[in-house]
Every structure is written in structure tokens, then in C-alpha cells.
């Protein structure tokens, strides 16, 4: 019964005209930018974050969450129509989705993706609502040692799941932590690594790192590729799936939703991984695995549901533990901090309206995606024909405006140029920037909790091993790391990310 009264509270927050409008704006902007190849959800959210400064915290978060799953949906749209995944979790949709589009069933493919996403969003929302309060209750008992161990676990999971070679990911992780430490030290007030720049004493802003590493360097990479777009020119075909199509795809959607919801909760948040896992599962249990890759509806519906469910449940670690599990959640966390909300277990008790309002708005956002985006498909398709040479200067302009408005200073624009160069070099050297970004946002918290735990334990590092919860989490982290080193698993990890 409790869960329903909570959802009712959320409904009362989310269903105000303004919040619905923000949700709608977020979803539409997200879809718009997600469809455009070459700019992912992290950069999109970083670019639009300054526009939400003036909003109420709840509205700002509702809009940003809308941008996130809108971008995801948009990513699969361009994957289906162009074989160009707008972002990494849409890669799987280029297989059977594009094959369906080539057969003249593009409309059906888009509809299945949207319906699957909606079903997954509903299931994900329910799991989030049921699971989060229990986890938050547990998290309230955590001390500094547990928090430290939890962050270590999250970071280790992130490098195990990252696409780069393990050793480089470890290096990237530690580098990210170091960059996170720039600015004044909370304990002593000493300015660290600021080179006397007053703009740096508050630390390097997350928006600067996200836009530099992900937004601008992505543009640099895209400019290298010869542009090649093969828009499915023939008609989209019917939009509405027949009963037979639905009956064929529905089990795959449900399986994908379950799989994605579980994988999404795990630290390291596998949104991309969940779509690959679902594809593998569907192919394995199918009676006609040979149809996969040639337009099997299950091969599209399953993964599309999985990544949406995972996107939904990846909010769990952030909202209950205060620990972001992937780059997008790191972005959400920095947005919360900007609006003076400390993510963590206390959110549910201290601001239940924000917590439940955000959760319900995610479901509404998914509804808006189905109801509005399918009829708008013609418009999105037109958008796809805009050449990249006209898009990237506009994206650069939005990046600059976003960077400038972080602290109304051009200093951050210069800083982002530095991070863009760094990010470009990282990608060229096959160093995955995602662990860097996660570590960057966790750096100060990790140091703070480590120092506090050690202070309480009078300098005895054994404290992390004598407290049962912290010891368990560190053991799991170690086990994960060992797993990643075992050659067999390394090989399959490579396979899973080869198309990344």
C-alpha cells in the first residue's frame, strides 16, 4: 500500500502543468539531439544544464531526466533509419532495426522500439519505486568506511565494464580522481593544483569536463570520418504493429525489461551492456536464430526495452546511495549539487516530493515519447537529412554558451579547450574516458570518506576490513577485478564491446 501512496504523491508533483511542460520539453529536446548523430546524452545534458539554473530543482531534474531518455529514444531512431547509432546503447538497434527498415518496415521498427521502451519504462519505474526506499533505509546506516568501500566497488565495476583495455582504464580512473581533487581542500582550505587561478579554487566544473571530453572531442572525431548516410528512402511502411507483430515481440520486450532492470541497478550501470545481453539472450532462445541480423523483430524489441529499463533503474544507486553508476548519472548528480540537493539516502525522507515526483515524471516522459514521438516521426526523419557540416558549428555554439554560463566567465571555455584536446588524445590512444568522468565526480567524496574513516580508526586501515559491509563490498570489487583479468572473460568482454 505504501508504494501506491508514494506514487500518488509523485503523481501530484509530476502532473502540474509546468512540470509536464518541462518533461515534454526535455523529452523533445533529448529526442531532437539524440537523433542527430555525433552528440551523446552526456554532452546534451551538459549543454542544456545552464538553461535549467533558473528552474525549481524538481523541474530542472525532471527536464534533465527527460533529455536523457529522449536522447536514448532518438539514438535508436537514427540507428534504425540510418544505421548510425546516436549513442552507444543504440548500437544493437543498427542490426535488426536497420534490417527491418531496409525491408520497408521502418515504421514498424520505430513503433516496436517505442512500445518496448514504454513497457520497459513502466516496469523500470515500478522496480525503482519498490526497491529504492529499502536500499535507502540500509544506506542510512552506512559510515565513512562503507561509503568509501561502496565507491571503490562502483569505480571498479566501471572499469571492468569499460570498453578500453583494463590497465589503461585503471590509469584513467586514477587520473579522473586526481582531476576531481583540483580546488580547495575541504579539510584544510588549501588550494590544490589551481596554479593561482581563482576560477579553479571551486574545482573544475563537471560541465567543463563533460563537454570537453565528450562534446567537443566527439565533434573532432566525427569530422575525421567521411560522412556517409544511407537514409532508408523508401516509405516508412505502416506505423502500427499488427496483433501478430505484437504477440511476437511482447515476450522479448518483457524479458528485455527484466534483464535491463537488473543490470541497470548494478554499480557500473550497464545500459549499453544490457542491450547487448538482451540481444544475445533473444538470439539464443529463438527458434529461428538465423533470422537475427536480417530483421527479426525480437532482436530489436528486446534490446530496446532492456536499455530503457536499465536507464530507469540506473537512477537507483544515485538516488539511494548518492553514488552515480555511469556518466549520465554523474551528470544528474552534478545537476543536483548545483541545485543544492545532496544525492543520497536522505533525499527520500527529506524531500519526498522531489524523489517521487522525479520517478513518476520518468514514467510520464516515457508516455510522452510514445504518444507524441510516433506521430512526429516524419519530422524527425526530415531532421536526419541535415548535413553534419551545418550541425557541428551550431553544437559548438551551444557548448560555448553552456560553458560560459557555468560561472559567467570565459575561463571555462579555455579550460574546456584543454579537456577537448585531452579527450581527443585519450580516444586516439584507446583510453576510455568514461571511468575518468565517473572518478572525476567521485574524487572529492572518495577522499573525504577515506580521510574520515581513517581518522575515526586512528590511522588503522584495517577498519575497511573489520566492518562487515565494507569488507564485503571490497571483496566483491576485488573479485570483479580478478574476473576481468581472466583471459576467457576478457575475450567475451572484447566481443561485447567490439562494435562500441
Amino acid at each position: 500500500m505504501d508504494i501506491f501512496s508514494n506514487l500518488a504523491l509523485g503523481l501530484s508533483v509530476a502532473v502540474t502543468p509546468w512540470n509536464i511542460l518541462y518533461c515534454f520539453m526535455g523529452v523533445t529536446l533529448g529526442t531532437l539531439i539524440g537523433i542527430l548523430p555525433g552528440i551523446g546524452p552526456i554532452a546534451t545534458m551538459a549543454m542544456l544544464l545552464p538553461a535549467t539554473y533558473a528552474f525549481e530543482p524538481t523541474s530542472a531534474l525532471i527536464m534533465l531526466a527527460g533529455i536523457y531518455y529522449g536522447a536514448q529514444y532518438g539514438g535508436s531512431t537514427s540507428a534504425i533509419l540510418l544505421k548510425l547509432p546516436g549513442e552507444s546503447s543504440a548500437v544493437v538497434a543498427t542490426l535488426d532495426g536497420y534490417a527491418m527498415a531496409q525491408k520497408g518496415k521502418a515504421g514498424l521498427a520505430l513503433a516496436l522500439a517505442a512500445i518496448g521502451s514504454f513497457i520497459a519504462g513502466t516496469i523500470g519505474t515500478l522496480i525503482l519505486a519498490g526497491f529504492a526506499p529499502a536500499l535507502a533505509k540500509l544506506a542510512v546506516t552506512f559510515g565513512a568506511a562503507e561509503y568509501f568501500a561502496l565507491m571503490v566497488l562502483g569505480l571498479v565495476a566501471a572499469i571492468v565494464l569499460s570498453s578500453g583495455p583494463l590497465l589503461k582504464s585503471i590509469g584513467m580512473l586514477m587520473l579522473g580522481l586526481l582531476f576531481g581533487l583540483v580546488g580547495s581542500d575541504i579539510n584544510s582550505g588549501v588550494d590544490r593544483f589551481t596554479f593561482g587561478q581563482p576560477e579553479l579554487s571551486g574545482g573544475v566544473n563537471f560541465v567543463v569536463v563533460a563537454l570537453g571530453l565528450f562534446g567537443i572531442s566527439e565533434i573532432l572525431l566525427n569530422l575525421e570520418k567521411r560522412e556517409e548516410r544511407r537514409l532508408v528512402s523508401s516509405s516508412l511502411g505502416g506505423l502500427w504493429p499488427s496483433w501478430r507483430d505484437l504477440r511476437q515481440a511482447l515476450p522479448a520486450m518483457l524479458r528485455g525489461s527484466g534483464l535491463g532492470a537488473v543490470l541497470g541497478i548494478l554499480p557500473g550501470g550497464g545500459v549499453t551492456m544490457s542491450s547487448f545481453a538482451s540481444y544475445t539472450l533473444e538470439k539464443r532462445i529463438s527458434k529461428h536464430p538465423e533470422q537475427f541480423g536480417h530483421g527479426a523483430p525480437q532482436g530489436l524489441a528486446g534490446p530496446e526495452s532492456a536499455n530503457n529499463a536499465a536507464a530507469q533503474t540506473s537512477f537507483v544507486p544515485l538516488l539511494t546511495l548518492g553514488i552515480p553508476s555511469n556518466g549520465v548519472m554523474a551528470m544528474m548528480m552534478s545537476a543536483m549539487l548545483i541545485h543544492n540537493i545532496q544525492p543520497g539516502p536522505q533525499i527520500i525522507t527529506n524531500s519526498p516530493d522531489l524523489f517521487w515526483g522525479l520517478i513518476v515524471s520518468m514514467w510520464i516522459g516515457n508516455l510522452i515519447l510514445v504518444v507524441l514521438n510516433l506521430p512526429l516521426i516524419g519530422m524527425w526523419v526530415k531532421l536526419l537529412t541535415i548535413p553534419y557540416r551545418l550541425l557541428f558549428p551550431a553544437i559548438l555554439l551551444f557548448c560555448c554558451i553552456g560553458l560560459y554560463s557555468v560561472q559567467n566567465s570565459v575561463f571555462d571555455v579555455y579550460l574546456a579547450i584543454g579537456f577537448a584536446v585531452l579527450g581527443y588524445v585519450f580516444i586516439k590512444l584507446k583510453c576510455d574516458p568514461v571511468p575518468f568522468l565517473l572518478a572525476f565526480i567521485l574524487g572529492p567524496m572518495l577522499e573525504e570518506n577515506f580521510r574520515r574513516a581513517m581518522l575515526v580508526a586512528r590511522g588503522d586501515a584495517g577498519v575497511f576490513l573489520t566492518r562487515p559491509i565494507s569488507a564485503t563490498m571490497l571483496a566483491v570489487a576485488l573479485a570483479l577485478l580478478c574476473f576481468a583479468v581472466i583471459p576467457q572473460i576478457r575475450k567475451s568482454r572484447k566481443v561485447a564491446f567490439q562494435e562500441d
Partner: protein, 153 residues
Amino acid sequence: MRQVLTNTDFLSGVLFVALGGGFALISFNYGFGTPSEMGSGYFPRVLGFGVLIVGLVLVVKAFLRARARGDAVVAFPIRPTLLVLGSLAAFALLLRPLGLAITTLALIGVAGFATPDRKLREIAMLAIGMSVFACVVFVELLKVPLPLWPRGF
């Protein structure tokens, strides 16, 4: 030898050594403290040396596997990179003195030349269109505090 020098392991190793070493070196300016009362230099120094060690391992690995088919770096195209970064620098330099309307023209004008399939008329139209759009949407509607016109207007 050449194979080693263009190997991604080797180059990222060098990058890690430089960055990690830099952080570690600077952190000697901050108090190290004791394990129970860590100074502001403790954490960065440990991490800095951690990155340094990872970098060294990568460099060694690159030499050990020099014979194997190296993971060579693809070329860095200079021109588009410089134009894109230059357009950002132009924004940073010009925004305060000239305002958003003119700065946008400069940014798009510079960035537009970064692709081989550019068309002069198209860039000009895009620059004007984006300038109007940015001024109306960001400054007028979203009230982002950006200077709109050159100083003194």
C-alpha cells in the same frame, strides 16, 4: 623502434607518466600528514604515483610486445582540429568585448571551414541564423546573462 613509438600503449604510458608525475610533484607542496590525520597532499601524492606506475607498466609493455602487431595510432588531422578549437577560442576572446551577436558570427565562420565540403554561402547563412537564434532563445527567452552587443552600445 618506430613501431614502439607509435604504439597506443607506449604513447598513453608516456601521457600517464607525465600527468601522474606532474600531480605527484605538485602535491609535495601540500602537507602529507599521517594516516590518521592526512594532510591535503596525502591522497593526490598516492594517486599521482599510482598513475605514474600504470604509465611505466604501459611503456614496458609496449617494448615487450614491440614485435607483435602494434596498435598503431591513426593520424591526427591538424586542420579541422585547429579550426574547431580556434572557433572556441574566438568565442572566449570576443564575447566580452563584442557581445554574443557578433561573436556567434565569428565562431560559426571559423568552425564552418573545418569540413572539406564547406560552402561559403551556406556558412554565412548559418552564421546569421544561429546568431539571431542564440540571441533570442538564450538571452531573451532563457535569460542567460550573456553580453549581447559590443561594449559601449
